[in-house]
C-alpha cells in the first residue's frame, strides 16, 4: 500500500449476515482465501429476518458509513421465509432513508448463498468502493446534553432586507 | 534440419522473463491467462495452427514460462487471422485472440517482430493510413505493402489489380474523413497509454502481481 492509498478515506461498513447462508459464504470466502477489502465488519444473526431496522440506524449513529445485509436467496431461507420479512422491512427502509437524505448506496441487501464465497468478495469490494466514493456519512451530532448552537450554519446566508427586524 | 548442429536445448531460468506473463495479462480480461490448463482446444480449433511455428497453446505456455523473446519474434501471432475460434471454445474463457494482439503490440513496441514479414508491415501501413486519414484506401495499402516487403511481387498482383480497377472495385483516390483534426485530437490523448503495460508501468502503478 503506498502512502497515497493510505490517505484515502476508508469507509466503515457494518454487515449483518445470516448464519446459514451469507455468514457461511463469508467463511467459505475465507477458506478459499478470497481476499477482499477489510472495511466490512460482520455481525452474525441467525436469519436476516432478525434484522431490526433499529440496528441499522444504530450502526449509522455509531459511525458506520454503510450497512450491508446478507441473507439467503428467496426461497432458500433456513427458516422458510425470514428473508422475505427482511425484504419487506428493507423495501420500506430504503425509501425511508432516502427521505432522510441518506444515499441509497449506503445500504444494500444481497442474497448470498452458502456456496457463494466469491459473491461475498465481490459485494464487499463493490460496496466498499461505492461508499468510498460517497465519502463519510455526515450526521448531525446528536450527543445529548451538549447544546448545539448551529448559528454558524453552512447554509447560504439569508439575505435580509432592511426594516424587517421588528 | 538433417544435420546435427550441436543444438543445446536447455533454458536457464535466468534467461527467462518472469514478468512477461503479467505484461500480457494486463489487458482487459487478461488475467484468465493464468488459468490455462493446456488442453489444446485452441490449437485444435485454429485453422492456421498447422502453419505456425508454435501452436497457440504453446504460446500460452511460453508466455507463462517467460519465453518472451521466442513469443515476440514468433510467426504465430502474425499468422493469427483473428477468427476467434480459440476464444469462443476455450474452456477457461481465455481471450486468446486478444492475447495474440497484445503480443503483436509488444513485439512492435520492442521492435522484435519478424522483419519483412508482410502482416506486421500491413498492420503498420494500415495504422498509419487510418491515423492520418481516418479511413484506409485499399489500393494505396496494397501498393505500400508490396513496396516494403517484396517489390517484385507487385507485378504478380498487377493483373488482379487491373481487373478490380476496371470493375470499379479499386480506386486510386485517397479516402479520407472530413474532420481529420477532430480524430487527431482524440487519438493524441491516447498517445502515451497502452493496454499492454510494460514491466516498468506495472511496477509504477503498483498493480498486484500474482
Amino acid at each position: 500500500m503506498s502512502d497515497n492509498d493510505r490517505k484515502q478515506f476508508e469507509p466503515r461498513i457494518i454487515a449483518f449476515f445470516c448464519n446459514w447462508c451469507t455468514y457461511t459464504a463469508a467463511d467459505l470466502a475465507g477458506t478459499a482465501r478470497m481476499a477482499y477489502s477489510p472495511n466490512v465488519r460482520v455481525i452474525r444473526i441467525m436469519c436476516s429476518g432478525r434484522l431490526d431496522p433499529q440496528f441499522i440506524l444504530k450502526a449509522f449513529r455509531e459511525g458506520a458509513d454503510g450497512v450491508l445485509i446478507g441473507g439467503c436467496h428467496p426461497g432458500d431461507c433456513h427458516y422458510q421465509e425470514g428473508n422475505y420479512k427482511a425484504l419487506r422491512r428493507f423495501t420500506l427502509l430504503k425509501r425511508f432513508l432516502n427521505m432522510m437524505g441518506i444515499e441509497k448506496e449506503r445500504i444494500r441487501l444481497e442474497w448470498i448463498a452458502a456456496s457463494e464465497g466469491d459473491k461475498v468478495q465481490k459485494v464487499i469490494n463493490e460496496m466498499t468502493e461505492q461508499v468510498r466514493k460517497l465519502g463519510p456519512l455526515k450526521l448531525e451530532p446528536a450527543s445529548q446534553l451538549q447544546p448545539q448552537n448551529d448559528r454558524v450554519s453552512r447554509v447560504e446566508p439569508v439575505t435580509i432586507a432592511e426594516g424587517e427586524a421588528s | 534440419m538433417n544435420k546435427w548442429q550441436g543444438w543445446r536445448k536447455i533454458r536457464y531460468e535466468s534467461d527467462l522473463d518472469p514478468q512477461f506473463v503479467n505484461e500480457i495479462a494486463s489487458i482487459p480480461g487478461g488475467e484468465k491467462l493464468y488459468s490455462c490448463i493446456q488442453c489444446g482446444t485452441c490449437s485444435g480449433m485454429c485453422p492456421i495452427s498447422p502453419y505456425m511455428d508454435y501452436t497457440p497453446r504453446q504460446i500460452i505456455a511460453m508466455i507463462r514460462a517467460g519465453f518472451k523473446g521466442e513469443v515476440l519474434s514468433s510467426y504465430t501471432t502474425w499468422l493469427c487471422a483473428s477468427c476467434y475460434s480459440c476464444t469462443v471454445e476455450c474452456p477457461k474463457d481465455i481471450k486468446l485472440t486478444d492475447i495474440m494482439y497484445a503480443a503483436k503490440r509488444l513485439a512492435i513496441r520492442e521492435k522484435v517482430y519478424p522483419k519483412r514479414f508482410p502482416t506486421p508491415v500491413l498492420a503498420s501501413e494500415f495504422f498509419k493510413a487510418v491515423e492520418n486519414y481516418g479511413r484506409s484506401t485499399e489500393s494505396w495499402l496494397l501498393v505500400n505493402l508490396f513496396m516494403k516487403t517484396n517489390p517484385f511481387k507487385i507485378f504478380k498482383q498487377m493483373g488482379l489489380g487491373l481487373r478490380l480497377f476496371s470493375q470499379g472495385r479499386l480506386s486510386p483516390k485517397r479516402e479520407s474523413i472530413k474532420r481529420r483534426g477532430e480524430l487527431k485530437s482524440i487519438l493524441k490523448v491516447l498517445e502515451k497509454e497502452h493496454m499492454v503495460k510494460s514491466k516498468d508501468e506495472l511496477v509504477s502503478t503498483g498493480k498486484e502481481i500474482a
Binding site: 429476518g49 450502526a59 458506520a64 420479512k85 | 490448463i37 482446444t41 480449433m45
Partner: protein, 668 residues
C-alpha cells in the same frame, strides 16, 4: 431504554479473551501481541492472552483453569468461525462447570486473516471483532439447552446404490426405513452399467442381490414411482408427505410374469426405453428390466390407449391371471413421521448435444458413454455387441474425455469418474471388437485403489492415448482415407501438432450433472446447493454427509460427482449419522429461541402471523402472546417485528446486538 442489567454471579463481569494463532493461519496476518494488548484495555476484561492453537487440549485447559481459578466468568475466544469450533469451546466450558453460553467467538480467521492482504488492516479488524464480542458478552446470561424426543424411523430419498446401501444399513440396525424412488424400479444408474471399474466385475451381479435384499427386508418400506411432496417439522420430528403415482398395476398382486406386456395391443415398442437410454423402444405397459425391483409392471399414461382415449380392447387385463391391472388407480398421498432424512437423489448425465461441435445427434455413430454402457451390456439392446448403425463392427473408435466437464461454459468441475469409465469402455470395446481405440484426454485422473494399475493395464493393451481436448468432430474429409469416417481434430499436446484422426465410432464421455429439479428438491428439504447445483455438505471435510438442516443427511452423487465405492462409503456414513441421531433418543435444541417479556406485551398480535413454525400463540387469559420454546427455531423474525421490544431472542437480544454494533465500531 430500560437497561436490563445482568449481574455477573460475582458482581462485575470478568471476561477472559483468548486469541488464537492458529499456527500461522491467524498469526501470519494479524499481530496477535498487539491484539492481546488491546484486549487488555477493554472494560471488564480480566484475562487476555494468546496461544498457538486454542482448540487444542492445552488451549482449552487454559480457559478451564482461568474459569476454575475464578479469574474469569465469561469467555471470548478469537479464532476461527463459530460454525467451526463453537461446540468445542462450549464443551470446554461445561467441563469447567461454567455455563456454555457465557461464551462468544470472534471470527478472526475466516473473516480476517484469510481474507485481508494488509497486515495493519487485518490487525485492526481483528481488534474490532474482539471488541464487539467483549462488549456483547457482558450481557450474556446462562442458558440451558432443551431436549426433544426423536422419532426412530428414517426416510431415504432415492433408490440408487447410495440410497439402497443407506436403507439396508439402517434396516439391519433395526430401524424402520421408508425408501422413496421416483422411477418404477430401484437400481439407479448402477443398474445400467455393464462392468465396474477397476475390477471389471459385473455391475448387475453385485447390485441385484442388494436390490432383492431391499425388497425382502421387513424393516424397509419401498415406495417406487413415488416422490416426496412435502416436508415439515424439524430434526427428529419430520412430517413428510409422499406422493405415490398410479402405476395402474396392483403392486401386491403383480408377479412380473410379462403376460400383460406380451398381450399389449402394441406388438412392438413405441416409445423411448428409459432403461436403455433411448437405444431401444418399449411398450405402454412394461417392466423396466428383468431384475427390476419391485418386479412389477407399470403402465405409462402418456402412451397407453386405454388411459389416453379410453377405448382399448384391454388385452392386458385379460392376460393377467391375477387381476392386477387397475385403470382406476389414483395418486395416493402417504403421510409419515421420521426422525431423519437421507437424500440420495443422484445425478444425471451431461446432455452431449449441448456441445454442437461434437456433432452428437447430427452424425451417426456418435454415442454417449451411457449409451455405450448399454451397448456393451449383454442384457442391453444389442445383446452386448458393439456395432455401427450399419451393423458392422467399428475398426477405430475415439473416446472423448471431459465432455461437458472442466469447461466454464458447461460445467467447470471435473466429473471424477469419466477417466476411469473411459478406460473401462476402451477395454470393453477393444475386447469386443478388436478396434483401435483412441482416448483423447486433458489430464488422466486415476486416484483410487487399483485405478492407476488399471490405467497401466490399458496402456499395455496398446490403447492410444492422445493428450489433447478434442476440438471438433465432423464428416469433413480432406484426404481420401477420411472419406466416410468421423474425423476427430485435436492437438496432440505432447507432440505439439494438430492431428486429424478418422474413426468409425465416437464415444463421448459425458460428465455428471445435478438433476434439473434440484432447486425444488433442495427447497423441499431446506438444504443448500453449491452453485453447480450439488447439495451442500455442512463442512467439506469434517461434516461431509451432514447438511445445514439438522437431521437431513447426504449420500452419493447428489452431493457431487462420485464413483460407486465412494457413494457406498458415503451412504454408510449417512446411515451411521442418522443412527447416531436416532439412537440417542432426543435432540438438544440450541437455546437461541425467542422469549416474551410478558410485562411489556400489549397483545398487539403483530408477531402471530410471522412465525413460520406456529411457535407463537395468543394466550386469551392473559390477553398477550406466548412463545412455545420447543417449536421456536430461533430465527428472530418475530423479535425484529415486536413493536414493544417485548419479544427477545436468547443469545441475540436487542441489547446484545446493539452492544455488538457499538463494540465493533467504537474502539478501533
Amino acid at each position: 431504554m430500560s437497561t436490563v442489567n445482568i449481574p455477573s454471579p460475582n458482581g462485575q463481569p470478568k471476561i477472559g479473551v483468548y486469541v488464537c494463532h492458529c499456527g500461522i493461519n491467524i498469526a501470519g496476518r494479524v499481530d496477535v501481541k498487539e491484539t492481546v494488548a488491546f484486549a487488555k484495555t477493554l472494560p471488564n476484561v480480566t484475562v487476555a492472552t494468546e496461544y498457538k492453537f486454542m482448540c487444542s487440549d492445552p488451549g482449552q485447559e487454559m480457559i478451564q483453569k482461568d474459569l476454575r481459578d475464578g479469574k474469569i466468568d465469561r469467555v471470548v475466544v478469537a479464532s476461527c468461525s463459530p460454525l467451526m469450533h463453537e461446540p468445542t469451546f462450549r464443551r470446554a466450558m461445561i467441563a469447567a462447570d461454567a455455563n456454555p453460553f457465557l461464551f462468544q467467538m470472534a471470527n478472526i480467521r475466516e473473516h480476517v486473516s484469510w481474507v485481508t492482504l494488509d497486515k495493519n488492516a487485518a490487525t485492526e479488524k481483528a481488534k474490532a471483532l474482539i471488541a464487539a464480542a467483549v462488549k456483547r458478552i457482558v450481557l450474556h446470561r446462562p442458558l440451558e439447552k432443551t431436549r426433544v424426543p426423536v422419532t426412530s424411523d428414517v426416510l431415504v430419498v432415492g433408490g440408487g446404490i447410495a440410497g439402497i446401501h443407506a436403507a439396508l444399513t439402517l434396516a439391519e440396525a433395526g430401524r424402520k426405513v421408508y425408501l422413496v424412488e421416483k422411477e418404477p424400479t430401484i437400481g439407479g444408474h448402477m443398474a445400467k452399467f455393464d462392468k465396474t471399474f477397476p475390477t471389471l466385475d459385473c455391475s448387475a451381479c453385485i447390485l441385484t442381490p442388494k436390490m432383492s435384499a431391499v425388497r425382502a427386508h421387513p424393516n424397509i418400506i419401498l415406495w417406487t414411482y413415488s416422490e416426496v411432496a412435502e416436508v415439515e417439522g424439524f430434526v427428529g420430528n419430520f412430517k413428510v408427505k409422499v406422493k405415490r403415482k398410479p402405476r395402474y398395476i396392483k403392486e401386491d398382486l403383480c408377479v412380473g410374469c410379462y403376460e400383460c406386456v406380451e398381450a399389449c395391443v402394441f406388438k412392438k415398442g413405441i416409445t423411448k426405453d428409459e432403461f436403455n437410454v433411448g437405444l431401444s423402444k418399449r411398450r405402454p405397459i412394461y417392466i423396466p428390466f428383468p431384475q427390476a425391483t419391485p418386479l412389477v409392471a407399470v403402465i405409462d399414461p402418456e402412451t397407453c390407449v386405454q388411459i389416453k382415449r379410453n377405448k382399448c380392447k384391454k388385452p392386458c387385463v385379460d392376460a393377467c391371471e391375477r387381476d392386477a391391472i387397475d385403470f382406476d388407480q389414483k395418486v395416493e398421498i402417504k403421510e409419515i413421521d421420521v426422525g431423519a432424512i437421507i437424500l440420495a437423489t443422484g445425478f444425471k448425465t451431461f446432455d452431449a448435444s449441448r456441445i454442437s461441435r461434437y456433432g452428437y445427434g447430427k452424425y451417426p455413430n456418435i454415442y454417449t458413454s451411457l449409451e455405450v454402457e448399454r451397448m456393451v451390456n449383454a442384457a442391453g439392446p444389442t445383446g452386448g455387441e458393439v456395432h455401427l448403425q450399419n451393423g458392422e463392427k467399428p475398426k477405430t473408435v475415439g473416446i472423448v474425455h471431459c465432455v461437458g466437464s472442466r469447461d466454464s461454459k458447461t460445467n467447470a468441475y471435473c466429473s471424477r469418474v469419466c477417466c476411469m469409465y473411459s478406460l473401462k469402455l476402451a477395454h470393453l470395446i477393444k475386447e469386443r471388437t478388436e478396434a483401435e481405440v483412441y482416448n483423447f484426454y486433458i489430464d488422466m485422473r486415476t486416484p483410487g485403489k487399483g485405478y492407476e494399475e488399471f490405467y497401466e493395464k490399458l496402456l499395455k493393451e496398446n490403447v492410444h492415448f492422445i493428450r489433447g481436448r478434442v476440438a471438433e468432430i465432423s464428416d469433413w474429409a480432406t484426404i481420401p482415407e477420411e472419406e466416410g469416417k468421423l474425423v476427430i481434430r485435436a492437438e496432440d499436446t505432447l507432440i505439439g501438432a494438430v492431428r486429424r484422426i478418422p474413426v468409425d465410432m465416437v464415444v463421448l464421455s459425458v460428465g455428471m450433472e445435478p438433476h434439473e429439479n434440484v432447486d425444488e428438491v433442495r427447497r423441499l428439504f431446506n438444504v443448500s446447493c453449491s452453485h453447480e447445483g450439488w447439495f451442500l455438505e455442512r463442512h467439506p471435510k469434517l461434516a461431509p454427509v451432514s447438511t445445514f438442516t439438522d437431521g437431513v443427511f447426504l449420500a452419493g452423487a447428489c452431493q457431487g460427482p462420485k464413483d460407486i465405492p465412494d457413494s457406498v462409503a458415503q451412504a454408510g456414513a449417512a446411515a451411521a449419522e442418522a443412527l447416531a441421531l436416532i439412537d440417542r433418543g432426543y435432540v438438544e435444541l440450541e437455546p437461541n429461541t425467542a422469549y416474551l417479556q410478558e410485562e411489556f406485551c400489549s397483545g398487539c398480535k403483530t408477531c402471530l402471523g410471522l412465525c413460520p413454525y406456529g411457535a407463537i400463540s395468543f394466550n386469551d387469559e392473559k390477553n398477550i402472546s406466548s412463545v412455545n420454546g420447543a417449536l421456536c427455531k430461533g430465527c428472530g423474525t418475530c423479535v425484529a417485528a415486536c413493536p414493544s421490544g417485548a419479544l427477545q431472542q436468547n443469545l441475540f437480544t436487542d441489547e446484545q446486538i446493539l452492544h455488538e454494533i457499538e463494540g465493533v465500531i467504537s474502539y478501533v
